[in-house]
Symmetry: C2
DNA sequence: GATGAAATTTTTATGCC
DNA sequence: GGCATAAAAATTTCATC
């Protein structure tokens, strides 16, 4: 799973790019004491290795019309394969994340909606999926921390 | 909250950048039928407006040493302010997201850890926070969908 | 095996229409 | 918003440690 460990320079580069993925190679290089070409070569290699999956934009959900968020816990009927759950849930533009979990709940789906009315509609659609026995929703009141980007793990 | 609605061109640009934030303005322009300078002006404006908060890198958690994930539900003693919760939870490098929620639980914290041993240690640290009465953890078995980037909301 | 300096190509950033 | 241009950055080449 860790074919080659990331050296401290790679980690530093990733931290800079996590903060600003459009920083120039020269800027990253300045932060980590490396020349622009050296940074580019390391970034290219991190992409080849799959450590870097891509680059994306961080957007303000509210500015895009998403004013409501919730965790929808789903209890499945009988045994449903993760592949089935995934295929179903993937089709929802409103689904942020979906995870199978331990415990009495089978699936936790994080949903974004325009408003309560929209959220209700999404939950109803989810509840109507053939493998869904029952749902339980928890509304997000306040998003205190949102840090989706994985950073190099702190040392043990 | 929506000072000016995003027109379809802005939405298209954001979708391209969500997929590849390092695409050149010319590439984005080709996808949305606009010249490179026109794209740049719109992107600059979207940043000024705060719709675009920044650019970041998508990394493979496993390649970085994160092999375990969990939802830790936290019950608070008495009444704790969101600011207090936030300040506490923010200091954890392992915290991906934290949200105050409706229902019997007060706070849902999404945690990433190197392994079960590390997760246990993080949960113990959280449980020892002064405002925490009790925690309940749910381990993520399989991450079916991970789509952190907010995209333009589908029309009503 | 990885780096830095220099040369070349491409992109970005601006002024103008 | 497009076009043209100057400035900056990315990318390639090449020599070095």
């Amino acid at each position: 799973m860790d074919p080659e460990r990331l050296d401290p320079l790679d980690q530093a580069i990733l931290r800079v790019l996590a903060d600003d993925a459009r920083a120039t190679f020269a800027q990253v290089g300045e932060a980590v004491s490396l020349s622009a070409p050296a940074v580019k070569r390391r970034v290219d290699r991190l992409r080849e290795r799959g450590v870097i999956r891509g680059f994306t934009v961080r957007l303000d959900p509210a500015a895009l019309g998403w004013h409501t968020e919730a965790f929808v816990e789903i209890f499945c009927q009988g045994s449903t394969s993760p592949a089935t759950m995934r295929a179903a849930v993937e089709r929802y533009a409103e689904v942020v994340s979906a995870s199978t979990v331990t415990g009495d709940v089978d699936l936790v789906v994080q949903v974004r909606a325009r408003d309560m009315r929209h959220l209700e509609e999404v939950v109803e659609r989810l509840a109507a999926e053939p493998f869904v026995a029952r749902t339980r929703s928890t509304i997000v009141l306040s998003a205190l921390v949102r840090r989706p980007e994985a950073l190099p793990a702190p040392d043990a």
